[in-house]
């Protein structure tokens, strides 16, 4: 059965290109344009991985991750955080929010697909 990935980013073109890449690789894609919209997806439907941007209006990626970790049945969903800053304090913040892994933007497509594969089986 195809796995579902939830993509969260306020910039539509980013969502589009992620969607295209991942859909081509055979994943089902759900999208949200910010944290609030994304949270609505956690309604019982299957979500196997979340890829979220960091800087978004209304609710940023870290807050989103923390919130996801609070939701029953979804606490253990792996979360990849996309960010242009990979400084160590940023990483620390991400880890304490519950992010599974940080990935730099712009990302290498191969790297992305490999990482995704690792996180979902």
């Amino acid at each position: 059965m195809a796995k579902t990935i939830l993509i969260v980013d306020d910039f539509e073109s980013s969502r589009n290109i992620l969607e295209k890449t991942l859909a081509n690789a055979g994943y089902n894609i759900l999208k949200g344009e910010d944290g609030k919209e994304a949270l609505k997806r956690f309604d019982g439907s299957a979500i196997d991985l979340v890829i979220t941007d960091l800087n978004m209006p209304n609710m940023d990626g870290l807050t989103l991750t923390k919130s996801i970790r609070e939701i029953r049945n979804y606490q253990y969903v792996p979360v990849i955080l996309l960010t242009t800053s990979t400084k160590s304090d940023q990483q620390e913040l991400a880890k304490s929010a519950g992010v599974t892994m940080c990935m730099a933007k712009p990302y290498n497509v191969e790297t992305l697909l490999m990482t995704v594969k690792k996180m979902i089986r």
Binding site: D10, S13, M59, Q75, T84, T86, C102, K118, M119
Partner: protein
């Protein structure tokens, strides 16, 4: 792929607009953190996405610029004029790159690009030490090494699951590297009543034979490295697991529930390191995100157009339904159709409202222009904007941008004098251009006012005569003189400036405005200034009308302009001396539409006079009869042949019975009529 690409360019342009806006405001309030955040976010998003869409140069430009804004965010530096200048220049270059598919097309572009990158790098200080976490998980290199056996101890902390990591996947990855023997340990699982289901109590020992090197193994655990205790040791060259003895020995240890340790593996007994079960459960704080913004949703404009089209068709259909209901005389049907009509009117207003955008979107562009232009011309000019929240149909706004830009350029270039001249005239050093938008009976008015040197209608007339546009002995009022600038081929600029060319284009401006069914007017006083007024309809597609009949032809008059309707005796009209009616004590000029349109047939004994608004005055239109209020869905009439009466008609509407009624532009009709009268009098 094309649409995604185009979408990116569209979004990038929006980001640039946001950025420019923030920059302009930051000039006034450089400490404003919200604005800095706005600028940073725009930069951040551009940096993160442009290279993926093939805009590598854009990515390069924004890369270090983002760092600069991060520094400002962190307080390491402030928003200086230098930073502003560099950012503006970058924005301009990025606009170019977006248009040319990332090519530095213009002659000076490569140099500008190079210089900008250097400047930005200087501002950003040292180069970023950017080792993205992603790189570390790049494709594993295959060494042409012989296999080695490794001992791996993987002891996750109890909180491993809190980050969504699944240790089993990690173990799978070990298997992927080569031959593997894994021993899970369950000893740490507490009694059921003490069991916390969110904790990870298992740990694993593994023996792996692989040709990969140690970093490849460690890489598997990279994103949980702080959530576990990991040991990886190379214990032997070659494949130990191939040795049956060895595997049996290890198996025995396991079966005996003895710890499998490195020491045990290397045939030395070593004490197991008891791992302090790290009990730093990360406290999960609940952060409630405050929603301060207005929720909105992005809809592609062709979807909106689709909705408007359907609403239009519904309105036409409803007209037919009403007709049937009237003929039918079934009271319940009539009631339902009336309710239907009311609802449909609401739907129409709401959907048209969806297509409206505040003029504010144009203002930001203009701010930049005024600022840059005045700097270039060494004039001190301030752009004052008012009524930014006035809303206009999006298609009107798109088409208005260029004409207004042109008018602004004119004001700045030809209108407002330079500081010295102004002071000599006793004016303030700083000139202003006021851009104002507001509503007025069914239209939107946009005025562009400057306090410059104004226009001399006598000079304009002289120029027009010189160019052979009018006769030397033509008598024109001041207003008419000013309007001469709208004639094609006219220009009062003494010299051609780089900025606004020859001032050519007022005729094009008028044409564009008229294409939008608008009007443009000009007022000016020498040395005081010039005001240009553009009047536009609120919507291009549906208007509220008054349905009237002349003979058996139906017409629609714009309801917004209608004052009152009066009955009038045909005899009285026929024998009138002047073109004036006396209604309620007022003298009102009138237009007899039957005559005006040269329609055949006799007028009825009692005709109707409808007083309508025209540029602040009342004008009456004489028709045979009034049918009633009518929602006219405007259908364009193909403008096959220029002029020839098409301009007095906004369009046509299809009525309930399928026949066509022309929707009249009463303002135009009055204009044409009064021109005729003028001509008559000469």
């Amino acid at each position: 792929m094309d649409t995604i690409h185009d979408k990116f360019i569209e979004e990038a342009k929006e980001l640039l607009l946001d950025l420019e806006k923030a920059l302009l405001e930051l000039e006034q309030t450089p400490q404003d953190t919200k604005l800095i955040e706005q600028a940073f976010r725009a930069m951040h998003t551009l940096k993160g996405t442009s290279s993926m869409f093939g805009f590598v140069k854009v990515g390069n430009l924004t890369h270090d610029l983002e760092t600069v804004y991060e520094f400002i965010r962190n307080g390491k530096t402030t928003f200086t004029p230098e930073i502003q200048h560099v950012t503006f220049s970058s924005v301009d270059l990025i606009h170019e790159l977006l248009a040319t598919n990332d090519e530095l097309a213009a002659e000076d572009s490569p140099e500008r690009y190079k210089n900008l990158i250097e400047e930005i790098k200087k501002l950003a200080g040292t180069l970023e030490d950017n080792i993205p976490a992603a790189d570390q998980s790049s494709a594993v290199k295959i060494h042409e090494k012989t296999a080695q056996t490794y001992f791996i101890s993987f002891r996750p902390k109890e909180t491993l699951f809190s980050r969504g990591a699944n240790p089993l996947y990690l173990i799978d990855d070990l298997y992927a590297l080569g031959k593997c023997l894994v021993f899970p340990h369950f000893e740490n699982i507490p009694a059921l009543n003490l069991l916390e289901e969110h904790n990870c109590y298992l740990y694993w020992k593994a023996l792996l034979v692989t040709t990969q090197d140690i970093s490849a193994i460690k890489e598997i655990f990279i994103f949980v490295e702080d959530l576990c205790t990991l040991e990886v040791h190379a214990v032997a060259e070659g494949d130990l697991l191939a040795s049956g003895d060895f595997t049996k020995a290890i198996d025995d240890i396991f079966k005996n529930k003895s710890p499998i340790t490195l020491g045990a593996v290397t045939d030395s007994i070593r004490g197991e390191k008891t791992n302090a079960k790290g009990s730093d459960k990360t406290k999960k704080k609940v952060v409630v995100a405050k929603d301060n913004s207005i929720s909105s949703i992005r809809v592609p404009s062709d979807k909106l157009d689709g909705v408007i089209n359907i609403v239009s068709e519904l309105i036409t259909l409803q007209a037919r339904l009403t007709l049937i209901a009237e003929k039918n005389s079934d009271p319940s049907l009539v009631t339902v159709t009336e309710d239907f009509e009311k609802l449909l009117r609401q739907l129409r207003d709401t959907s048209l409202g969806m297509c409206l955008i505040p003029v504010e979107t144009l203002y930001t562009r203009f701010q930049r222009l005024v600022r840059d232009l005045s700097k270039d011309l060494h004039k001190d000019i301030k752009l004052i904007t008012e009524g930014g929240d006035t809303e206009l149909d999006k298609s009107i706004i798109e088409n208005l941008s260029d004409p207004i830009l042109h008018l602004l350029r004119n004001s700045i270039d030809h209108g407002i004098e330079d500081t010295a001249t102004r002071v000599a005239k006793g004016k303030s050093k700083q000139g202003f251009v006021r851009l104002k938008s507001f509503y007025a009976t069914g239209s939107v008015i946009i005025t562009i006012q400057d306090d410059g040197k104004g226009m001399d209608s006598a000079k304009i007339k002289a120029k027009a005569v010189e160019k052979g546009l009018i006769q030397p002995d033509a008598i024109l009022s001041d207003k008419e003189g000013l309007n001469l600038i709208f004639l094609p081929g006219f220009s009062t600029a003494e010299k051609v400036t780089e900025v606004s060319g020859r001032g050519v284009g007022m005729d094009v401006v008028r044409q564009k405005v008229e294409e939008l069914r608008g009007e443009i007017d000009i007022e000016s006083a020498v040395d005081k200034g010039t005001t240009i007024t553009v009047r536009l309809p609120l919507s291009l597609s549906i208007i509220d009308g008054l349905l009237i009949k002349i003979g058996d032809t139906s017409f629609v008059l714009p309801l917004a302009l209608v004052h009152k309707c009066y009955e009038i005796n045909h005899e009285k009209l026929a024998s009138a001396y002047s073109d004036l009616l006396i209604i309620e004590g007022e003298q009102i000029p009138y237009v007899n539409l039957r005559d005006e349109f040269a329609l055949s047939g006799e007028a009825p004994a009692i005709e109707q006079a409808i007083t309508m608004e025209y540029e602040g005055q009342k004008v009456a239109f004489i028709v045979d009869s009034i049918v009633g209020e009518y929602q006219a869905v405007l259908k364009p009439i193909t403008n096959l042949y220029k002029g020839h009466g098409h301009d007095i008609v906004f369009g046509a509407t299809i009525m309930g019975d399928g026949s066509i009624a022309l929707v009249l532009d009463t303002n135009r009709i009055v204009k044409q009529h009064s021109n005729k009268i003028l001509i008559k009098h000469y």
